[in-house]
Amino acid sequence: MDFGPYLMLATLEGAVTAAVLALTASGLALVFGVMRVVNVAHGEFFMLGAVLAWWVTSWFEGAAAFGFAFAILTVPLIVGALAALADVTVLKRLSYDPERTIVATIGILYILQQVTLMTYGPDARPVTPPFNTRLALPWVEMTETGLSLYWPWGLSITSYKLAVIAAATVILLALWIVMTRSKLGLMMRATEQDREMALAFGIPVERVYALVFGLGAGLAALAAVLIVPIQQAHYLMGGDPLLLSFIVVIIGGLGSLPGTVLAALLIGLSDGIISVFFSPTLAKILATLLVALVLVFRPQGLFGARRA
């Protein structure tokens, strides 16, 4: 394939990765920003989202689009409720002590993974996309008559992948509006700034925490529902999103939402594009080292403000 179309393909694929990553990571960033809690089980909430999406859509065999719409509405709520329950029963009792919550969420990770294995089983299962048309894409080239369009071999995307990018953008905008414009967002930001002060002003901090933890998990689940028609639901699928979300949240400046989205774009796109130039595994090694070095030499993240 020529270089131009290749780069365009890698960029489009990177954009899909970035969209899903931005949703997942903003859930993690929200939890970390407001609660100062590192949720190691975040990837498992992502996995639960995908598995539940398979389960819900399997009720609607023959009506894939309807089943999928139903899944996208219900699954994040179920996962969010489950996470809120975990917050109230476990994390709250640990007084959100950073190290203890890490261990507790590792425990939750094992529990969710094993319960899924015991009920859903070890297979990877696909979900039918509500729509999926292959769209061949044109590219320009110079001919004697000037610029002209042609259809390079292999340069294409599917309508569903485009829809994922659009949906993620809309959801992130909605989240941004909720955080900046609504009373709920105000309460979250107040809790984030100063927990004691928020309590003094009568903000139900405990309920805000449960809500934020649920919302964070719900976002991961939502991302998973969006991606599961492209990938498949599998009980071990939570590991990679967790690792990538960590990277994104750190580079994005620990809990800042716009920073997280920017970082997701950077990571998602570079993952697609770096693999154009290097052997894929080498690309992964370089990317991983790069993230580590960014952190070392710019600990506040690439987009982070100077927060204490």
């Binding site: 492209i230 699928m237 992964k284």
Partner: protein, 434 residues
């Protein structure tokens, strides 16, 4: 390629006589022992314990479930037929989490805690390689069902054998003549960037060059990758055949995205069914596979000329003619591999009977008896096909199957000869002490 001479049949006569002699010696020795010891040596009703290392959790769990079902079915059959040397077979299953560290611990548990007679049934190569040293030290006969080249490469030890499933080296090289003469000579390979993929890369590249073909490009995909489209532009345009062997849960995505990438015009595609074990060929997104070719260890769909042995095997394990569970047509089996558990357990039975196996003290005799085996005819004990066991390399050789996806089913189009799968011996385990 005249590789047929490379495997010399082990001189069965003498070895068998040797085994008999040892047996007779043992008998005399037993007669001179005190009474209590002789009784302990001749216990008849106690079960023969087969320590079954099963991937119940971890990345191998989808395989583990079917390995378990096949093993239980084989054990039930052997017990119905009167057990081994008049003793029932008991399967002692332990999960290894598909992890080499836990695998080695499980082997220790079999040998020293459960007092198993043998260890058996491991699939994933890294678990085999992590466990085999312990099996060798504990002198626990360790029958693996892994299709890895680790046994025949000489890396392991005299107590580790693979008599029930062929290894990746022989499988891969047997594909080259078919690919070169039917599909094309310019091949692009797509494989996972770890040892299993590297085996395919090295063995197939050599084998296709021997057929006058060439590998244009080798695309190694990092483990844990979940999206693949970005790698496909590396496929050269003049590729005639794509050879793919992806494994793991992301396989469906891989195939789907390959289809979306090529759209209506695609080169010939040849894959290893490892990609789609336990996956329904009719899954959404896999329509693209129509007309492509697969290596199959054992044809998943019952073919028109199905052997009575295959029918028997399916019935006993509970698999329908589409390779799915009879109880749940959506529960697709790992049909291309799981026969290995069945056949291996029958080898163990035959070996124990030839060795007159009585107690764990006879483990060395069991190894010698299995090493003495050569021809394994197509039968209920070997439903996948006839096989030839090489006692020196501890590896079995057999027919390989190539199927074409036709109307959403896998239709057998080619069966390789056993000779196609031979390569020169890389080790002689029989020179190692027992």
């Amino acid at each position: 390629m005249t590789k047929s001479k490379t495997i010399k049949p082990v001189s069965t006569q003498t070895t068998r006589r040797g085994a008999l002699k040892t047996l007779a010696l043992g008998g005399t020795a037993a007669a001179t022992l005190p009474l209590w010891a002789r009784y302990a040596g001749a216990q008849t009703a106690a079960p023969i314990k087969v320590g079954f290392q099963v991937h119940r959790t971890g990345i191998g769990a989808a395989y583990g479930r079917w390995y378990d079902r096949t093993t239980q079915a084989a054990a039930a059959l052997i017990n119905d037929q009167g057990g081994i040397n008049g003793r029932p077979v008991e399967i002692v299953a332990e999960d290894d989490g598909t992890d080499p560290k836990r695998g080695a611990e499980v082997i220790e548990k079999f040998a020293t805690q459960h007092n198993c007679d043998i260890g058996f049934g491991t699939l994933f190569s890294h678990v085999v390689i992590g466990s085999a040293p312990r099996a060798g030290e504990l002198k626990l006969p360790y029958f693996v069902v892994s299709e890895g080249h680790h046994v025949a490469s000489g890396m392991l030890n005299r107590y580790t054998l693979q008599p029930g499933i062929t290894d990746v080296k022989s499988q891969v090289q047997a594909m080259a003549p078919f690919v070169a003469s039917n599909l094309g000579k310019k091949v692009t390979m797509i494989f996972p960037d770890f040892a299993f993929g590297h085996d395919h890369r090295d063995f197939f590249t050599a084998a296709i060059e021997a057929q006058g073909g060439e590998v244009l490009e080798q695309i190694a995909i990092p483990p844990t990758e979940t999206s693949f489209t970005k790698y496909f532009p590396k496929i050269p345009r003049d590729t005639e055949v794509i050879y793919h062997v992806m494994v793991g849960p992301a396989v469906l995505t891989f195939v789907k995205e390959l289809g979306e990438f090529f759209g209506p015009q695609r080169p010939e595609i040849f894959g290893f069914i490892d990609s789609l074990e336990a996956v329904d060929i009719g899954s959404p997104g896999l329509e693209f596979l129509e007309g492509t070719y697969f290596w199959e260890g054992n044809p998943r769909y019952a073919q028109a000329d199905q052997s009575p042995y295959d029918a028997f095997f399916r019935e006993k394990v509970g698999v329908d003619s589409n390779g799915a569970s009879v109880n749940d047509p959506k529960d697709v089996s790992t049909y291309a591999h799981m026969f290995g558990c069945w056949e291996t357990l029958h080898i163990v039975k035959a070996g124990m009977e030839a060795a007159g196996y009585q107690t764990t003290a006879d483990r060395a005799k069991l190894i010698e008896a299995v090493e003495a085996m050569t021809d394994l005819p197509h039968s209920n004990a070997h439903p996948q096909g006839a096989k030839v066991f090489n006692g020196k390399t501890h590896q079995v050789f057999g027919h390989q199957y190539i199927s074409k996806v036709t109307d959403g089913k896998l239709l057998l189009v080619h069966t390789t000869s056993i000779e196609d799968t031979y390569y020169p011996d890389e080790v002689d385990y029989t020179t190692q002490p027992l």
